[in-house]
Structure formats: C-alpha cells, structure tokens
Symmetry: C2
DNA sequence: ATATTAAATAAGAATCATTACTATCTTATA
DNA sequence: TATAAGATAGTAATGATTCTTATTTAATAT
C-alpha cells in the first residue's frame, strides 16, 4: 500500500471524527484539503481500508464506515438518531459459547437495539 | 389497501417461500403469473407491506425482505450463506431489561452472528 | 348490473450509491 | 535521477430504488 496523500488524508479524517461517516461525507472533508481528489478514489481507499481491517463498513446504517474497534453493542434512537454503545457483553458471550458447543464458529457479529433513548 | 392481483400474488409468494427474498426475485416470481406486472409496482407493494408490518426489510442483507415474525437471532454462515435461527432469547431479554432500567425503550432489534456453520 | 372515482398500475425516466475504465500521474526503488 | 508498478482523476457504467404520468381497475353508489 503506497502512502499517497489521498490515503493519508482519509485516514486522518477517521482519526479526527470518531463517528460513522458516509463515503460522500468523507469525500467532502477530503476535498477541502485536496481539491483534486476524486469520489472514486475515496471509495477505493475505503474498500482497501476495510479489507485491511482498518475500517469497518456498517451493515445496519448502509453505506457508513467507521474505525474498526473492539466489539460493541449498539443502541440506535429512532427519534434523534444517536448511536450509543450499551452493556451486554456477558450475555452475548454466553450465546457465543453455546454456538461453539454446537460446532459453529463465530467470527463476527452485529447487535443492534432500536428504540427511544433516555433523552428523547 | 385495495386487493389488487399484484398485491395478492406478492403476498402469496411470501406465504409460499419462507426465506428472505430480493425485490427482483419477487418480481420474477410474480411475473410468471402476471406477465404485465412492473418492477416499480413490486417495490411499491413491498414498501406498503413493510409499513403495514406484514413484511420486514432486513438491514443486514441489504434489499431483502421477509415475512414479519417473532423476534429471532440469526446466524449467517460465511461459506454457504445459510441463515439459521439460533437460541439466545434469555440473554437478549436480560440486556433489554437492563436498558429499560436505564430509561431506554426498545422497539426493535437485529442480532446477527457471522461465522462458519456446523456443516461447512 | 353499471357508472363513477379515487387508488393502483405499467412503463420508463430519474436518482443515488457504488464500481469500472482508462489515460495520466506518483511513490518507491534501482 | 530514471523507471515501473501502483494509484489517481474524471467520467462512464451499473444496479437498486423511486418518481412521474397517462392509463387501468377495485370498491362503492346508483
């Protein structure tokens, strides 16, 4: 992987903005610093960073990417749209152990609860 | 909601084929029985049936729809693609109760584990 | 049973996200 | 510094979904 300006800038954008972002949002941010950047380049770099395990493409919020981090459980508020991490690792581990006993190997998971958050 | 042939046939398709299907798959099946049906009609009916709580549009497998049924936990095999329901309701209920205690109201959830199934 | 009308449809255009293509440019290396 | 493989810009192409509009049809009143 060659260290091009485009790659470096996109990585920096993810380091600065913690949240999940669409390809277009990233394109706009990158464009401020590198006006000649192409949207196609943004997409290609995003795909590369996903296969490199640097980023994760969310299945839930289609077309959004975020820094790959430890496993988490999401709660998405239907009113304000805020996404927060919630506790529950123990219970999930328990489910995963039962799967292992049955001969299934778990490599990834996505756990999302939808509803109304405390503030709304 | 008027009982048009298009609507009736699409509902029947979901009653016959239990799995999750894309709009295009449904279109092709419906087209056999109603050659004049339009893909746009399929999409509109699918959207209507989702707002009517008859169908559910899956976030995980983008663009796929399935009959709305009781809550379940999915395991998707990365090799053969098979989707199966797995046990774990108790643990999930426990997580939901904790959320309720914190003042969050849960209305929906999506829980998917990815990995390799017993057969693969 | 037939006329009426609001809702639904067919067909294709339009939109939006994403990928493919290709000539040009750039990073890493000799 | 020259070179070549890899990356890029710009745009065309694709695929899923929605929009538009003239036409058709199911439900209802006659």
């Amino acid at each position: 992987m060659r260290q091009t300006n485009q790659l470096i800038i996109i990585k920096e954008i993810f380091q600065k903005y913690e949240g999940h972002q669409t390809a277009n949002e990233i394109y706009k941010k990158a464009h401020r610093r590198l006006p000649a950047i192409s949207l196609a380049t943004v997409y290609r770099i995003l795909n590369t960073l996903v296969t490199e395990n640097y980023l994760e493409r969310l299945n839930i919020e289609e077309g959004r990417y975020e820094l790959k981090k430890e496993k988490h459980i999401h709660f998405i508020c239907n009113k304000c749209g805020k996404i927060q991490n919630i506790p529950g690792e123990e219970q999930i581990k328990s489910i995963e152990e039962n799967l292992k006993k049955k001969g299934m190997k778990v490599s990834k998971r996505e756990i999302i609860f939808y509803g109304i958050c405390k503030e709304c």
